[in-house]
Amino acid sequence: MTGLTPWERIRYPQAGEVISATAEQATATDMDVVLESAVPLYQQAVGRTVGIFSAGSPSITKATLTTVSFTSGTAPFWVVGSPTRITPTIPGIYLIQASVGLNYTSTSNMFRIMIARNGGTAAPDVQIQTTPQWDTNATIIVANMVSMWKFATGDFYELKVFWNGTPAGPQTLDTPRVSLIPLMYT
C-alpha cells in the first residue's frame, strides 16, 4: 500500500497488489479524514457567533474619560465578572461597532466614543469617533462608529466615552450598544 493521491494523500492499492479488506479500509479511512478536515471550515463559515453588548443609562462625569460597564452581553465574549470587557475567543479579524447616545439639555457639547484595546487610552490601542453638537434644540448626541481589529489571544476591548460642554453634568448615556462581528479567523 504505497500509492498516495497527489493532493489529499489518500492511500490506494497499486497495480499488482492483491486487493484486501485492509487496503480498502485504509482508503476509506483517508477519505473520511479528508471529509472531516472540511468540518471546522464549514463550522466557521456558517457558525460564527456575533456578540451584542448593552448597558443601561450610566452617569458620566464631564471631561472624564469613562469606561462603560455592560449590563448584558453575548457569551462567551462577555461575563458578569468583567463587565467592561469584550473578549473574542478565536484569533482573527473582527469588526466592532458601537452606537451610543448622550442625553443633554444644553448647547456647545461634544461627545466622543472610543473602542479601546487592552485598557489603552491612546493610539495605537484606540479607534475613536468624536461628534460635536451645536443644535440648541436637540436633547441627545448620538455617536456611531465601526472599527476593524486584528485580535490576538489575550486581547480584550472596552467602550470608553468622553463628553464636554456647558452643563455641569453628570450626563447619562442613552442606549449604549456594541456589537462584535467576526470577519475571519486567522
Binding site: 500509492g3 493521491t5 497527489p6 493532493w7 489529499e8 489518500i10 492511500r11 490506494y12 492499492p13 497499486q14 497495480a15 499488482g16 497488489e17 486487493i19 487496503a23 480498502e24 482508503t27 483517508d30 477519505m31 479528508v34 471529509l35 478536515s37 472540511a38 471550515l41 464549514y42 466557521q44 463559515a45 471631561a63 479579524i93 461634544m110 466622543r112 491612546a122 493610539a123 495605537p124 484606540v126 479607534q127 475613536i128 469617533q129 468624536t130 461628534t131 460635536p132 451645536w134 462608529m145 465601526v146 472599527s147 476593524m148 481589529w149 486584528k150 468622553f162 464636554n164 470577519l183 475571519m184 479567523y185
Partner: protein, 201 residues
C-alpha cells in the same frame, strides 16, 4: 464503469470483479473533489483584507486642501506588500470586486491654534479602473465634523465600494473658521478594508 449521479465518482459495475484499479479511480476522484472544495472554502474564509496604521503624522498644509496619511505599517495584510506610504492598493490579479472600506482618522494640529468650529472632513479617496475602457477615476467618500478643542479630533469614514485595480487612500481636509491652524492625519490613524465578493458580470 458507472459513476455516481452527483459527483461522478467511479465504482465497479455490479457484475465485475473488484480490481485495485477501481479503488485507485475512486481515491483519485475523491482527491480532486476534496481539493477543489477545500481550496474554495479556505479562500472564502480568508478574503483579501487589510488593516494599515500610520506611524508618523502625514503631510500638512495651510488652508483647505487634501492631506494624505503618513507612513503606514500593516497590522494585517496577508496579500503582502499591497500597502504603500499613502494607502493600500488592490491585488492586480483580482477582478472587479466589492469592498467594505473604512478609516479611523485622527487629526493633529501642526501649526497655529485651532478654533472651535473649524470644519473638518474625513475622506476616503477610492481609485478604480474601468475594466472595459481602461480609464481610471477617483471617487471620494466623506464624513464631516468640527473642531471642539478637546484634545484632538477624530473622524470615521465608511463605504462599500466597487473597485478594479483599485487603491484606497485616507485623507483629511479642513477649513478654518477663524485662526490659522493647520492639520494633518495624526499617527495612529487606521485604514482598513475587506473584500466582500466578486461583482457579477
Amino acid at each position: 464503469m458507472p459513476f455516481t449521479s452527483n459527483k461522478g465518482l467511479p465504482y465497479p459495475s455490479p457484475n465485475a470483479f473488484l480490481d485495485v484499479q477501481d479503488t485507485y479511480n475512486l481515491a483519485a476522484a475523491v482527491d480532486l473533489q476534496a481539493k477543489s472544495y477545500l481550496t474554495q472554502i479556505a479562500a472564502a474564509m480568508q478574503p483579501t483584507s487589510y488593516i494599515l496604521r500610520t506611524t508618523a503624522n502625514g503631510p500638512t498644509g495651510s488652508g483647505s486642501g487634501d492631506y494624505l496619511a503618513g507612513t503606514t505599517t500593516a497590522e494585517w495584510d496577508p496579500t503582502a506588500g499591497r500597502q504603500g506610504a499613502l494607502g493600500w492598493s488592490q491585488p492586480p490579479s483580482e477582478g472587479l470586486s466589492y469592498y467594505l472600506v473604512g478609516a479611523d482618522l485622527f487629526f493633529t494640529v501642526t501649526a497655529g491654534t485651532p478654533a472651535v468650529g473649524n470644519n473638518l472632513l474625513g475622506k476616503l479617496n477610492v481609485t478604480s479602473t474601468d475594466p472595459l475602457a481602461g480609464t481610471t477615476s477617483v471617487t471620494s467618500y466623506y464624513r464631516s465634523s468640527f473642531e471642539t478643542n478637546n484634545g484632538g479630533e477624530s473622524i470615521q469614514v465608511l463605504a462599500i465600494v466597487k473597485i478594479y485595480r483599485g487603491a484606497i487612500q485616507p485623507v483629511v481636509n479642513f477649513t478654518n473658521s477663524g485662526g490659522s491652524a493647520t492639520y494633518a492625519v495624526a499617527t495612529g490613524s487606521r485604514a482598513w478594508g475587506m473584500r466582500l465578493g466578486t461583482v457579477p458580470s
